[in-house]
Amino acid sequence: MKSGPMTSMSKTASDAVTEDVLFEASGLSVSFGGIKAVRDVSFSIRSGEVFSIIGPNGAGKTTVFNLISRFYDAEAGTMAFEGADITNVPSHRIAALGIARTFQNTELFEHETVLTNMLIGHHIHRRTRLASDLLFLPRARRQELEFRQKAEDVIDLLDLQRYREQPIGSLPYGARKMVEIARALCLEPKLLLLDEPSSGLNPEETEDLSFWIEDIVADLGVTVAMVAHDMNLVATVSNRVMAMADGVELATGEPTYIQQHPDVLRAYLGH
């Protein structure tokens, strides 16, 4: 098995990053129909950083995210979030712990408006139960007003005002990508997983995206983990990068280090 020679290199990551480990995966493995999609991958995400996972197609990047979201069961290895083990936590509990995510090809609630999508993002913060919802008690009304206000804050942050009342089906692709990030932010997560946030965006939109990501980290104090293809974006926003190929980790470290790493170059250029 290949292994990056300098995985500990990451110690020199940017000053803004504290040393608190927010999320830690060790020895993660999973396979589908005999193919090892992820093999013995270990990494940690620190509070307040932007952590990127790069790699050619089929490297297992999205699979790592799906493991964190608990869509798949890991065959080996453990995951811990804020020091607590989450390896066997059911998928729907992950969000309540503080991990939100977006999807490679966007998975929005297609028939609803941007606003409704964002309100659904507040689900984990609900305090009403079925009975008070059916009767729409004052408690439920107050909660709705609060959710609405908070959704507006996110709309302001990401500049989505003109899409607010539009159904998702009528939005351009770039806007959908942003709405998905907005919806994830409504969960008020501690860790935000962005799966290929720049795919399908034009260069201008990608540049905007890098500003948003910086805002999200700086203003909201959210830690970001990102799967990306676009080396430019990764180099601009990331504190640390993990490179993967064929389900194994090649190297982890600062963007400049990764860009020159021989194993990474080999994986990308195919020698």
């Binding site: 729907h92 969000a95 609630f109 689900h123 984990i124 009767l135 709705e144 609405r148 969960l187």
Partner: protein, 358 residues
């Protein structure tokens, strides 16, 4: 075209968007409240039936239109509601207690049936509900002590606040009141987290899961609620038909209920009412047509279900959004005239295989 200036978030939370809506719905309410003054008994009975269908439709719309689960067996809940209510009445319970009890009973049955069913998706769920309907029909047919078996059971007369429920005017108001409450409850649900969780499950299960929505529990809740509304309709339906026998509730009843929500317009509350009017009046229209049509056609034995089927096909092919969808299109056409674009409501098609691996 109307522009609504919003000045506070309460406007997004309220039931009605603007004064115009409040006016028109108020007018509608006044009309249905005063209708018994002018309509004769026959029409009151027909309208009461429409209301009953609409209550059942609320249940099915929550499930099919908002949670995206298709039930081919909702006649079972209509039947369970009817039989349970009748049983409670014969045990001497008053109407006002018996109806809620029957409704709760249906909710519980729905929840229990939903427990295993929640592991299934799409077609599997539909077929499981069909199987459940067949089995419950079997139980109803054979549990003679409670249901009267093949011979059936008479529905006792009941009173609310001292007045007879089975009189045409009284029954009309009871059905109208229950419908109003059902619709209000559903509207409340849809503007709060529970209802939005249903919608989330409908549009994307993975995404709903990553938003922290418990798929199993959400589906179960939806199914139980849906069963409760349908059972509630069933308990009123018992009074409408007066005598319960197994052949009052068949697979065809389930299909008719589905037909109602599809024709009315999936995913809209107005659609429930349109669908119920359609379902309630169609048999009358067909009966009328039988008199007019040449005898050879009029005497076809399966004419009524055949026409139901044909209408269903026509709607699915030409107007899958139902009557409500067509109305929205017409309204938009006038609003945007002369700039209306046909593509605004173009259907999204998906050709990718998402479920299958082999």
């Amino acid at each position: 075209m109307r522009f609504v200036l919003k000045t506070n978030y309460g406007q997004d939370v309220n039931l009605f968007l603007h004064g115009g809506q409040r006016f028109w719905y108020g007018l509608l309410l006044a009309v249905v409240l005063l209708a018994p003054l002018v309509l004769d008994t026959f029409y009151l009975g027909e309208f009461a039936l429409v209301f009953i269908w609409a209550i059942a439709g609320t249940g099915l719309m929550l499930l099919v239109g908002y949670t995206g689960l298709v039930s081919l067996g909702h006649a079972a809940f209509l039947a369970i509601g009817a039989y349970a209510h009748t049983y409670f009445l014969t045990q001497g319970l008053p109407f006002v207690l018996s109806v809620p009890l029957a409704t709760m009973f249906c909710a519980v049955v729905g929840y229990i049936v939903g427990l295993p069913a929640l592991r299934m998706t799409g077609i599997y769920f539909a077929i499981a509900t069909l199987a459940f309907e067949r089995i419950s029909a079997f139980v109803i047919e054979h549990w003679e002590a409670v249901t009267g078996g093949h011979f059936g059971i008479r529905v006792p007369d009941a009173t609310v606040l001292g007045s007879n429920v089975d009189g045409p005017v009284g029954f009309y108001y009871v059905c109208l009141g229950v419908l109003a409450v059902s619709l209000l409850a559903t509207m409340n649900l849809l503007r709060s987290p529970t209802g939005r969780a249903f919608i989330a499950v409908r549009d994307s299960e993975v995404s709903a899961q990553s938003m922290g929505i418990n798929l199993a529990r959400t589906k179960c809740t939806a199914f139980a609620l849906s069963a409760a509304f349908t059972g509630l309709a069933g308990s009123l339906f018992a009074h409408k038909i007066g005598y319960l026998a197994p052949d009052a509730f068949t697979v065809q009843t389930s299909i008719q209920l589905l037909l109602m929500v599809v024709v009315g317009g999936l995913g809209s509350l107005q659609g429930i009412v349109y669908g119920a009017i359609f379902l309630g009046l169609l048999p009358q229209a067909i009966a009328f047509a039988r008199d007019v049509l040449p005898q050879r056609i009029a005497e076809i034995p399966g004419l009524e279900p055949g026409i139901f089927g044909l209408i269903l096909i026509l709607f699915l092919v030409f107007e899958p959004l139902g009557i409500h969808g067509r109305w929205v299109k017409i309204r938009t056409w006038f609003d945007e005239f002369p700039l209306y674009r046909k593509a605004t409501y173009k259907r999204q098609r998906s050709y990718l295989r998402t479920e299958r691996v082999r």
